[in-house]
Symmetry: C2
Subunit: 229 residues, 2 copies
């Protein structure tokens, strides 16, 4: 799977959030595409879209929407001829993800909170876009006040962000474990012998947990089948 | 009441909708402010906001939001210091209206329609903006596929648009009639004698209707009061 990350931030260099995510996104099959101008080569941008199965629009929430530099990208690149399903339909069947960083706490995005509307409500225009272009709209990836996060939280953020960019199916426990074990298996040969032992133990543990879960699910199914008969 | 109309359209000159609305907006106490650049003098823009009680953001719906040129205006002009209620709070108590023109039929903006989401859902980011800045969010003014409208529909559009820009309180029948009678009274001395007679008759009819409505409302209230006792 190929993922295109379109980053719309007026000052990417000055954003510790975006620099952190940029390092996390340095993965095979991920194209990091920061926007730096309003003056676009539309054909080149469309070629980037054509290469990808998953398109992630990544931006800080500015006045409850994407910054103008990203909106300009949508306005210019998604021409009717290129994008509409009754024309070329270049995005039909692709996935659309939103990776949004927040300056206010995520918990305030709720009725009665200081932001008063949920992120799902606020991001409806992107859901409508995905619907119109016959794309699959992914659950939004939220970066909640990055500068206040602890190191532990940042580590979790990194792993979850990498999953968001590269995991074939999002949201299922099996897939998450498969994704982690595959990542660990690749990582182990590249680290020192000490770490190799530690990581191998973790990998074995993960596989055991996965096997236990599979057993549990089989047992549960058997019980259900018995009750049904 | 002073109204500022911020028009965000990448090709205002080529838009018959915007040219029609521009002529309709040539009224006292209305400032027509078309955006033509991404490079703004922020202080000048903020001064325009300070002069107005009602701010109308006017744009064609591009990918379920405002075009980038209008989003850029919001991003640049509404600085934290200028706009946030806990700072200068320059917009507190003002009204925020949205005048949006649609390329798809308005009836498709509904669950199950081709657009699948209502305009209220799609415009949530603007409602959230008004909430954050402690502004009153006005009902949205919709221009439904202008190029397909009949002359009659365009005449109604013109009157309703002028009301949207200038009527002190939107949405109440009394106010609508008062607004129309005031407009007619101003218009009558400026037209030919024939038309003066016609318009005077209409004006009288309107005033009679208004009086009848007031009577009806008084009767209704009396009946309710009797039932309550």
């Amino acid at each position: 799977m190929e993922t295109l990350v379109v980053v719309g931030h007026p000052q990417i260099q000055d954003s510790s959030t975006q620099q952190f995510l940029k390092e996390a996104a340095a993965l095979p099959d991920v194209t990091w595409h920061p926007l730096s101008t309003f003056d676009l080569n539309v054909a080149e941008e469309q070629a980037l879209i054509n290469q990808a199965n998953r398109i992630v629009l990544q931006f800080p929430l500015y006045w409850y929407s994407a910054p103008a530099i990203l909106k300009n990208w949508l306005d210019q690149v998604l021409t009717r001829r290129f994008a509409y399903p009754d024309a070329m339909g270049s995005l039909v069947g692709k996935e659309l993800g939103i990776a949004v960083s927040l300056g206010s706490p995520a918990r305030q995005f709720t009725a009665g909170g200081s932001e008063n509307f949920s992120l799902s409500q606020i991001l409806t225009p992107f859901q409508a876009l995905a619907h119109k272009l016959q794309m699959t709209f992914l659950p939004t990836f939220v970066i909640d006040q990055f500068s206040y996060q602890t190191d532990d939280e940042k580590t979790k953020l990194l792993v979850n962000y990498q999953r968001y960019l590269t995991q074939a199916q999002l949201g299922h426990f099996d897939d998450r474990t498969n994704w982690l074990t595959a990542r660990l298996a690749k990582l182990i040969p590249t680290v020192s012998t000490d770490k190799q032992q530690q990581l191998t133990l973790i990998l074995e543990q993960l596989k055991n947990d996965q096997a236990t879960l599979t057993d549990l699910q089989a047992n549960l199914k058997m019980v259900q089948d018995m009750e049904d008969n």
